[in-house]
Symmetry: C2
Subunit: 391 residues, 2 copies
């Protein structure tokens, strides 16, 4: 007979999921109501409103897709890409590659502009590509590359794309709530995110937002969307206004309770305050890690504050260190992904997990474990460096 599952309590400082605020865990345990209940309709409306705040947009079509972030990505591509469409994908990490894969699966032609991993996207590369491919319909890129810890200039990229008449699809999975996302100010046409990063929710939902230009493109498609579950023409009927709602699929009610509470918490703190908190804790973590002698792979001006990729000291078995952190301190940090596998650790300071306690724990746990592995690090200086950074 299988026993009930009782998870060990971890501190989640990887690339996500990040630690979930207990208020959100409690919200998910509230009794389930029907997905057509009038109270549920109110829940949906409030979530839409708060997501508009988080994305800094007036876009009517701002909703959570009922599945994880990669389904949010797919929602953008399957609805906007039609067979034969040319899509310029600016790739500077793993998740840009996934965008290109999406384009191809929906019959589009992906023009992949390879950028250096660990760097922001170079807007000049987009300008040059658009000169060559004047018939491109869409430009897609990742605002905050979770695989490398680099942040790109979304506003400039969206402006260039718009000037050439292209729609933009922006991956905001790791940025939403943790650093400035401003869809309307950017002029972004479509964006997707996840709940398990800086919103500190459990994984499983993907907030998306589409402006009128994107909605028009979807409504005027020449071909049917190659998905029933993610077809926004149907989903819009369900997440529409007031009494016009038509049953589409059964929404994940309890997961939405959690997202609602996460967004209430974000409202309470305030977006700008949340961004500043992520900056402050990043600066302290940086001070601590650099005091140990660890180095960031991303140039300072292009770094994400919520996801810190650092090189692994020479001669260290990186997997053994992560395992030790997990077993001894119940602390999870992330491994490298794609071409950075085995070369970096990825340390997240996302949402609820972005706090001084975690900064102190992570840096000192690393000092302790790296000492056991005889890594050449500076001992006994990190805590003071962190303290100084917070002053």
């Amino acid at each position: 007979m299988t026993q009930s599952f009782i998870p060990t309590v971890r501190t989640l400082m990887g690339p996500g999921p990040s630690d979930v605020n207990p208020r959100i865990l409690n919200a998910m345990a509230k009794p389930t109501i029907g997905h057509l209940d009038p109270e549920f309709i109110r829940l949906m409306d409030e979530i839409k409103g708060m997501l508009q705040y988080a994305f800094q947009t007036k876009n009517q079509l701002t909703i959570p897709v009922s599945a994880p972030g990669s389904a949010g990505m797919e929602t953008c591509f399957v609805n906007l890409v039609e067979p034969g469409d040319k899509v310029i994908v600016l790739q500077n990490g793993v998740f840009g590659g996934r965008q290109a894969d999406n384009v191809r699966r929906f019959g589009g032609e992906a023009i992949v502009v390879e950028q250096e991993w660990g760097r922001a996207i170079d807007p000049a590369a987009l300008e040059a590509t658009l000169k060559e491919h004047g018939d491109a319909k869409i430009v897609s890129f990742v605002h905050a590359e979770t695989s490398t810890g680099a942040q790109s200039d979304a506003k400039t990229i969206c402006e260039i794309a718009a000037r050439h008449g292209c729609l933009t699809i922006v991956d905001c999975v790791t940025s939403l709530g943790g650093s400035e996302v401003a869809l309307d100010a950017w002029g972004a046409d479509a964006a997707y995110s996840g709940t398990q990063k800086c919103l500190s929710c459990a994984p499983g939902l993907s907030p998306v937002s589409f402006n009128d230009r994107a909605v028009e493109a979807i409504k005027n498609r020449k071909t049917q969307v190659a998905s029933w579950f993610l077809d926004l023409n149907l989903v819009m009927g369900y997440w529409g206004e007031g009494q016009t709602r038509a049953y589409h699929h059964t929404a994940p009610v309890n997961a939405l309770y959690g997202l609602h509470e996460a967004l209430v918490i974000l409202e309470e703190e305030g977006l700008e305050q949340s961004w500043q908190r992520h900056i402050d804790n990043h600066n302290a973590l940086k001070a601590g890690l650099e005091a140990l002698g660890l180095t960031f792979i991303v140039p300072e001006s292009e770094r994400l504050v919520q996801l810190n990729a650092v090189s692994i000291p020479e001669g260290v078995d990186e997997a053994a260190v992560r395992k030790q952190l997990l077993t001894q301190y119940n602390l999870e940090i992330g491994a490298g992904l794609g071409s950075l596998a085995g070369k970096v650790w990825r340390i997240g300071l996302m949402g609820y997990a972005s706090n001084p306690k975690n900064v102190l724990l992570c840096v000192n746990a690393l000092e302790s474990v790296l000492s056991q592995y005889n890594a050449h690090i500076n001992k006994g200086v990190a805590t003071a460096a962190i303290a100084a950074a917070y002053q």
Copy 2:
């Protein structure tokens, strides 16, 4: 400032979601762990094993898709249907129609065999269709039609399909856990279900199962699967055996805690005992509803025990009755769907919600409210009929 959402406590006796066992709600509130954590790998393995028990199958590829039931449906169709494939869809309700829509979206040709709504599928109609369409690759149908309350003979349908060399896709959304599902004994090749019906979980996950023949078909596709999120060639790598797991998407950790607990509860009760409980409570509900004078739309031998569709008495405003049940008794029952909209109520007795307390509440609440609407019903006799049925 938006306030935290505190749902009213309802009794969910619609077509799903059904009432969630508090043990499952508590499980979902447990602290989130990483989706690559060794403890999470154990959770995945245990869920796979318990789902094999629920589906009565040895199929290795038996997993929960990280999205609601309609994504489970899409997982079956997007992976098994290739452009040009002929798929025979046996439709006797709303959800068969959705299967046909799926077929077309993935480039297949749907041969829809229309059956009477409210009746089981006639196997002879499949025989006849297969004689005409000997080149069909797949036969799909709904085992338990949630829109009508009819149950079909899955074993016979699968046997006919196999005899003609067709793969089968079976919708077990409403049947799994509530009435006999036996994929291996049926010879079903692919099946999908949902968590919010007879498993009494929150909505948001979709258990699916594929046998070796289906897996071979997926591996030998000539075209790439038109979805990244649902491509089983990728998902298999994540839900694979032991240490070979490759990161695909971020699994909905807390929702999986809930499913795990639901399956532990099912194991504790035993599958056969759960089926019998659903039969017993259905018989009591039937006795009570018939004592009131209400009539079922499905012939007795073809009825689902977990979803009861009854005709609306003449002159009654069906929406007003449902609203009154919800506001006065916090009781949710379901409206009709598709061509049955406005003609029936759908009363669920699913999973945890299939119990004598709910039977008594529902029948007597209906008596109370229908009396207010001056419907011609028999008063004061339902409780005795229910009591007799339980004896």
